[in-house]
Amino acid sequence: MSIKLHVWGDFACFTRPEMKVERVSYDVISPSAARGLVEAVYWKPQIRWQVTSLHVIKPIRFTSLRRNEVASKAPSGSIAKAMKNGRGSLGLYIEDDRQQRAATILRDVSYVIEARFDILSGEENVAKHLDQFNRRARDGRCFQRPYLGCREFAADFALVEDDHAMPSVDPELMGERDLGYMLHDIDFAHDMTPHFFRAVMRDGVIEVPPLTGKGVKS
């Protein structure tokens, strides 16, 4: 019923919602980002993935990256206008509209995501979905390339089939570490409410309560 997916990459940025302008990453992957990674491999509207625990494999290391970014978004009003009139000038000039933003990102990360899913609708055929996920993850198939927080930080992934294949946690992560309040996930059913939980890492493992569970605040 539950799956384990090993994911890794050179860089990652799980942006803290309270520091979004100059992005600062959480110390570890958030349950919400982990769910996105799993869904990139396999998802159907009939199921809902739930991350149950996160294993942090490599020591937590930060680096910083400053880039030129566009400051504004395309206004849909002027696009509609251009469509209607059949004319208009829609480009954005990067020099007039530039902001430099630094991102404090993680480097050289590796996690094992443990997740399970609930069936929301359709036939109660757990094995079918489980099988499809495992087949895809085993062969490196995915609906879209999973990423570690931002699309430029693509993730590689592998299925963890049994305990032999579990990568071992770096000794540096042993002991208990309180990571403070962390985004659990966004509740899309209820007006995009963010939910937070207290993330505690014990020997590299973070237990994630269910979204509606004890200790999760919105």
């Binding site: 469509m83 208009g88 490196g140």
Partner: protein, 309 residues
Amino acid sequence: MTNPVSSRYDFAYFFDITDGNPNGDPDAGNLPRIDAETGQGLVTDVCLKRKIRNYVGLAHGEQPPYEIYVKERAVLNRQHDRAWQKVDPKATKDKDKLPKDEKKARELTAWMCGNFFDVRAFGAVMTTEVNCGQVRGPVQFGIARSLHPIVAQEHAVTRCAVTNERDLEKERTIGRKFTVPYALYRVHGYVNPNLAGDPNGTGFSESDLSLFRQALDQMFESDKSAARANMRPVACIAFRHESRLGNARADKLFSRVLCTARQGVQPLPGAENGDGDGRPPRSFGDYELTVDEQDLPSGVTIEHWIDWR
């Protein structure tokens, strides 16, 4: 939209620079970007995408369907109020309101995708109030990294003129330039057919893909400047998957593309003789690039988008 791409591609792209600065770091006074821990040089994903946009903008004169949404002045031949292709004029009556209606919002998105190459390839964010006003594009780039650690050289340069009246007696002003003597960079990218085709896909087509490949080959030609005179693509090896979901793990495929230092050249970080001595690399000839084409997973074929041999 015709003929969206139907297979997944994972590609490894190599480019090099001689005596120039491929991508300055605004946090370090425009020094070439560097990974502080390993000393390897970095070039950001957005830097490469900018060059692709500029190339496509130049190659197609900013005409639909190859308009560029995020532009740079340098390549721009601004044509105000150019006549657009007429589309179904069922746009909103109320111009200052955002379309709350998903169908209309989707129409806008589709129209943007149809006109702008960079929205089709890389996606764009158009208004946050509308859920589908955000487009994820099928083309995804990572961050490029040099194979060897780089050494940035600083050059003081003088100018025989001054800017201000008050500096007249100084006669000269001094500026600074940074260059990397030589560096070979590697970056991984992905093309995902599921974000091109689908009913909500961007419509990134086979002909867009060949334009994209052309851009990878040509983009440095139209990007010459004092800071980076000698940049060039070296190789691009693409793995084409038969299935839309892919037929193999990308990391395993990428590990087939090996680039090593030749005899007598300083070994690469992480190589067996990683602490060995050798001369620093000064050209692509100091590297050996091999692609293991034996026993490919079924359904995967190798395409040499840019051949280095």
